[in-house]
């Protein structure tokens, strides 16, 4: 089983604050982390390798500092890492990102399964995983909460739905996007950390991949951000303290008309 895990380095959105004066994002001091959902993809990639043998390669497309994220993935047990970084990729939307990542995966060639987190916490689109699968023309299963079994070149997985889950069988190679329920990511061991420190990270630029130039970066991105603004702040609420009999009566009076 050779596995490729796609990860993204994102700003820790829980630390993002709005400057009350200028109404812009304060980015200073905001830490970069591995997208929370990708942690489950890394863990699953490592577990599958431990169970079935083979190797787990982690890849990331982003600025040079995304190398930190790749080293963290190695410390959790990934064998190899590849950074796809070039100024030509700047401004990529989900279509251009999916294309670029797919071309990098084509270059790696030998894989049975690609794992992605269900979405990234900065953009929340959930579009890149299925985008990669489509570019590579392989089947996908999204929102996977459990890999039941892998045999005879097929994987049987549980896919979350609004009402519960479906048991889906897919041929390999395939791409899975995973949700939190699939596992609990491990804390890297000391040995893992040492390995990550010394690991050699492969680095690919646009020129290293067989890319069509007009499908890259800003030029290859059909969507344009035309305006960014801060949402209007929520008005200050009515917060009631005191005797629960009284406070609940007031709240029910306030809300009942808005519920009918």
């Amino acid at each position: 089983m050779n596995i490729i895990v796609c990860i993204k380095q994102v700003p820790d959105t829980t630390q993002v604050r709005i400057d009350p004066v200028t109404n812009t994002l304060i980015r200073e001091g905001v830490q970069s982390i591995i997208n929370p959902f990708d942690m489950y993809a890394i863990e699953e990639g490592v577990r599958l390798k431990e169970k079935y043998g083979g190797k787990t390669t982690v890849i990331s497309m982003g600025p040079p500092q995304a190398e930190t994220a790749l080293r963290e993935a190695i410390s959790m047990g990934c064998d190899e890492a590849c950074l796809i970084s070039d100024r030509a990729f700047a401004g990529s939307d989900t279509l251009a990102s999916g294309y670029t990542l797919a071309m990098a995966i084509r270059k790696i060639k030998d894989y049975d399964m690609i794992l992605c987190g269900k979405q990234a916490s900065d953009g929340d689109t959930a579009q890149v995983g299925p985008g990669i699968a489509t570019q590579l023309d392989i089947p996908q299963v999204t929102y996977v909460k459990k890999i039941e079994d892998i045999k005879d070149n097929h994987a049987t997985v549980e896919r979350m739905t609004e009402e519960g889950f479906e048991i889906v069988k897919t041929s390999l190679p395939c791409l899975l996007t995973v949700v939190k329920e699939i596992n609990e990511p491990r804390i890297p061991s000391l040995k893992g950390r040492m390995k990550a420190k010394k690991a050699e990270i492969t680095s690919w630029k646009a020129i290293d991949l067989d890319l069509e130039e007009d499908k890259l970066g800003l030029k290859g991105s059909p969507t344009w951000v035309s305006k960014i603004f801060t949402p209007p702040p929520r008005p200050k609420g009515h917060i009631l303290e005191g005797d629960p009999e009284e406070t609940t009566t007031k709240i029910v009076d306030e809300l009942k008309n808005r519920l009918i």
Partner: protein, 398 residues
């Protein structure tokens, strides 16, 4: 832009002839021949050819014949034959947009034995319903659904394509956008038409709802967007509305799938699906144990709502993950969100702060949940929640 058949590679299998929506391909002496007057360079044949025998050179910076794309399409997601409510919400918005564009609203309905649902969509405001009825489409599967939709979009060329940001919608729509090489915007909370250029203005939250961005796809069609549940108002039912039902057949070769559903398991029984609920009563660490969620279920029952949970309660094993609201769970925007014993970590707030009304109940007056709440009660959840249940029951006559 150009298209040609590489004669040496063509085996004469005629798959491309079957998939061409425009009848532009024929077989002459066991080789495919393209009628360039009929060909729109849509690329359906290129996707179907197993021998890479069709060479299509396209300028990917702009959709060819962009001015010919007209009308708004809505994906009519159905499960077990029931049209999902988000479809009616999309129809309401699509109707509004169509008035600004002076165009028609159409639905595309895929499934098996679902033809009778087309009339419902017309009553909700669809001018046209394109129906594909095939046993392969009974349950949602990525590959046949994607290929059927791509086939119809290539044939009819809508200007805008809208889809619910559901598990099915989000899995399918990105595949469709890649195949068509067009722009896609996820989870829009606002859709409007630019007055001058007639672009679809797609507004969505980013960075956990801290900023809003308006996104355009200027040079590509269709302009595609997904919308979450409960963001737009449902289109009303008017049984006098008339519309056209167009039955479409998709070549069987496009309906094959490399994934197969072995079983469908429904877990959520006592409570409604939180993504679709108008009212959500959520509990957190302050509930102290799984048994106390029964109290929330009672309140939810009186209000006709669903029960949600914070991450803390899910991680403690008190509630299943499918109920988790927040960054690593579901994002919800109900009409009323009642947070009981939830302190309001930012990861929770990003999943519910776009709710219409928020009522927070917490012992700690400094809990961050009160910063986003419209109403708050500082007090003991074990006293407050049963009192609310009792009083809502009386006030609402339930």
């Amino acid at each position: 832009m150009s298209i040609q058949i590489i004669k040496d590679k063509c085996t004469g299998c005629s798959l491309c002839v079957k998939v061409c929506p425009f009848g532009a391909l024929t077989m002459v002496s066991k080789k495919a021949v393209i009628d360039l007057d009929k060909c729109t360079l849509c690329g359906a044949c290129v996707d179907s050819c197993k021998f890479n025998a069709i060479d299509l050179k396209r300028d990917s910076s702009k959709t060819p014949n962009i001015e010919e794309y007209k009308g708004i399409w809505v994906f009519a997601e159905q499960k077990k034959g029931a049209v999902q409510s988000v479809v009616y919400e999309l129809l309401g918005k699509a109707h509004e947009l169509s008035e600004k564009l002076g165009s028609e609203v159409s639905c595309v309905l895929l499934g098996h034995n679902i033809k009778d649902k087309a009339q419902e969509l017309i009553h909700r405001g669809a001018n046209n319903v394109y129906v594909v009825d095939a046993p392969e489409l009974e349950h949602y599967l990525d590959e046949p659904y994607t290929k059927a939709i791509v086939n119809l979009i290539r044939k009819y060329r809508p200007e805008i394509f809208l889809c619910g940001a559901t598990f099915i919608g989000r899995s399918m729509i990105s595949r469709v956008a890649v195949k068509l090489h067009t722009g896609l915007t996820a989870d829009c909370t606002g859709l409007d038409i630019d007055e001058k250029e007639k672009y679809l203005m797609q507004t969505r939250p980013a960075f956990g709802g801290n900023i809003m961005a308006t996104i355009l796809s200027k040079n590509h069609r269709p302009q595609m967007a997904t919308v979450r549940h409960k963001v737009f108002k449902e289109a009303s039912i008017d049984k006098t509305r008339k519309g056209k039902i167009i039955e479409e057949t998709i070549p069987k070769t496009l309906l094959t799938s490399r994934t197969k559903i072995l079983d469908i398991v429904e877990e959520i029984t006592s409570t409604v699906n939180i993504a679709e609920a108008d009212i959500i009563v959520s509990g957190g660490r302050g509930l102290k144990g799984p048994e106390n969620f029964a109290m929330l279920e009672e309140l939810a029952k009186v209000l006709g709502g669903a029960v949600g949970s914070s991450r803390a309660a899910v991680d403690a094993g008190w509630m299943p993950y499918s109920h988790q609201v927040g960054q690593t769970g579901k994002t919800v925007c109900p009409k009323l969100y009642i947070a009981c014993g939830i302190s309001g970590q930012i990861q929770h707030l990003v999943g519910m702060q776009s709710s219409n009304i928020i009522l927070a109940i917490n012992q700690d007056p400094c809990a961050p949940i009160f910063t986003v709440a419209n109403y708050g009660i500082v007090g003991d959840v074990f006293q407050v929640v049963p009192l609310l249940t009792k009083k809502f029951k009386a006030a609402l006559n339930r």
